[in-house]
Amino acid sequence: MRPLPGATSLLTWLILASLAVAGSGCAAFRSYKAEMDKTIALASAGDINGAIKVLDSNNKSKDKDLLYDMEAGELRRLKGDFQGSQVAFTSADAKVQAWEEASKLNAARTGGSVGSYLVNDKVRTYEGHDYEKVMVTTLMAMNRMDLGDWDTARVDIKRTHEREAMIQALREDEYLKVTEEARKKGARQNFKELNGYPVQTIDNPEVNALKNGYQNALSHYLAGFIYEALGEPSLAAPGYRTAIELRPGQGMLEDSLGGLEARLAAKDEGYCDTLFVIETGVIPGRASQSFNLPIPVGPQGRWIFISASFPTMPAVAPYNPPSVRVDKDLDVRTAHVLDLDSMARRTLKDDMPGIMLRAFIRLSSRAIAQYQMQEQIAQQQRKGQDTLGMSLGLLALQLGGAVTEQADERGWRTLPAHVTVARARLSRGQHNIDISTGQGRATFDVNLAGPHALVTARLLGGRPFTTPASSPGMPAAPLPAGSKSVAAPGADAVQVSVVNFDYPVAVSTPRRTVP
């Protein structure tokens, strides 16, 4: 018996699809964006516990993935549960370390597991975007500071710049490899060639001004601050210097480097060098959208357009507070050190060639099958044969593709979109802090002790809430009674933590007391 040609190709396809789906579990059908939109809406409304509950209900499996760890870490941090946040980030960090080891061993592997060539990027193990890997240790350092342990924060910050250097070495030649492979396979790998792709959202001056998608001026500035607080100017200077290189033209950053010597030489006169870290908004997530990908098939190299989904990123208006008002009359200017919004877009832009190449390879076999079936249907129709079975096969093929072709929307969604820093030499004791949220003002009180302090605040859409203040050597002390944060109706929620770096004060730092 002669096998039906159409049936064979259908069979091939079904094997392929079922193989891939079986291998991936339900990952291919999960919409990360939908899951996280709900979580973030709850967090923005001030219901962090509710947000955590939703996150947990979406991740019931015992083996939590990197994404869960990162989202959980950030949500717990928002709640002021620095200990719990650290547990989640430590788990996330272990996964990033495993990735680091594997990539050092085999640079080619970082392109993703073979599985995704066959079905979808979504079934790949989530390895994290580069800026996320850097943020994990940066936030771990901030958690440590919040817990009063600045010495261990130093370890985390050191790991952050080591990780950054490792990623840099890895990415340098990887981009070249993808371009080369795409060229060999004749794939269209420029997203600008996707009809209707919102090019502006990932190809604009802010995005292109970034040196890359992972170098993080916040972590470098924080490194400068921590090393300075620990009395290590030789390590503090490169921290500030790198921050300036990454975010040039901001006076506040330049003053931090320029004044380093003077600050270290200064006598302790009862002031507190206070660093404000203000996080605003929510990083944009990837959203799956359908486009027609041209694929060459047949002996004449005809282009067949196959519908495929690619990640896009909706535009979001940025907001950064221009200053921090202290005690109602002192305006401390801020510096915009971290633009995670642009970094996410830059990462997507850098990822697009690889995503398109994988889609091209994945869809080529389907394009060929589709082309051959169409040819056969046309042939049989010419001969006046029944084409019903064949047409059903074609339909199944196209439908199957539509189900499995959903772009990978994964990414750490609870991160802020922007981070600004401000720094002021304030007298020790209680101060009133007032930050413009764009829609109103958020005010809260802080109690500063010791020569260095860290005050962090997250402005998140919704209603205001605060967390206890903390300090190194003397962790998380509740805000003094009567202090509360106030925001105008409709203003952003504020999550605040205050850390006072106190341990050199025990007998004060050497260079301050010893003439």
Partner: protein, 197 residues
């Protein structure tokens, strides 16, 4: 029956599966190495640079600084060596290594430096407390000050194009007589590293 050509796709699946299984076999291996070997993993400031700079600088001090080579056992304090590069170079690791080498040469003695001062004061104060036998405790006001101070800076020049990354480091150190302010010794040591991509 001939195999339809379209069935080639599943064989690709098998091949891919095989590749995955094979890739899983080769895990990372850890071995102990020679701490003194020449390290060229990346062109960032590395262990060989630290060892070379520290060793060459201490050799220069031993042979070129008259106050040391005369065998007078000068007392020296090490101040901060400024890091003017964009790299996180712990200059204290360089000066610590130099200190250890010089100490062992028995040509130099080191006084407590700024970074160690607080610990020194803490310990003296602790011994002054009522729990200690005051006859055997360290007295206040007996510390010996240094006659010379060592300070300096490290700078770098980094140039990079598509094919080559070139890094140049220069360490400058000087030793000054604290009493007179006269510079007794200074030297520069440099390192150039080039990486072809």
């Amino acid at each position: 029956m001939t195999l339809p050509t379209r069935l080639r796709v599943p064989s690709a699946v098998i091949a891919a599966g095989l590749a995955l299984t094979l890739a899983a076999c080769g895990g990372p291996k850890t071995k102990y190495g020679d701490a003194g070997s020449v390290e060229t993993v990346t062109n960032q400031f590395g262990s060989t640079d630290l060892q070379m700079l520290a060793e060459q600088m201490s050799q220069s001090m031993l042979s070129e600084a008259p106050v040391i080579s005369s065998g007078n056992l000068p007392i020296v304090t090490v101040q901060e060596v400024k890091n003017k590069t964009s790299e996180y170079i712990d200059t204290r690791a360089i000066t610590n290594r130099m200190r250890a080498t010089l100490q062992k040469s028995r040509k130099v003695r080191f006084a407590t430096d700024q970074a160690e001062m607080q610990k020194q004061i803490d310990e003296i104060q602790r011994q002054q407390s009522e729990y200690y036998d005051q006859n055997k405790s360290t007295e206040v006001g007996k510390m010996v000050g240094a006659g010379f101070r060592v300070t300096g800076e490290i700078t770098s020049i980094v140039k990079e194009d598509k094919k080559i990354k070139d890094v140049y480091y220069q360490l400058f150190l000087s030793m000054t007589n604290i009493q007179t302010g006269i510079e007794e010794w200074s030297d520069t040591k440099e390192i150039r590293k080039t990486t072809e991509k």
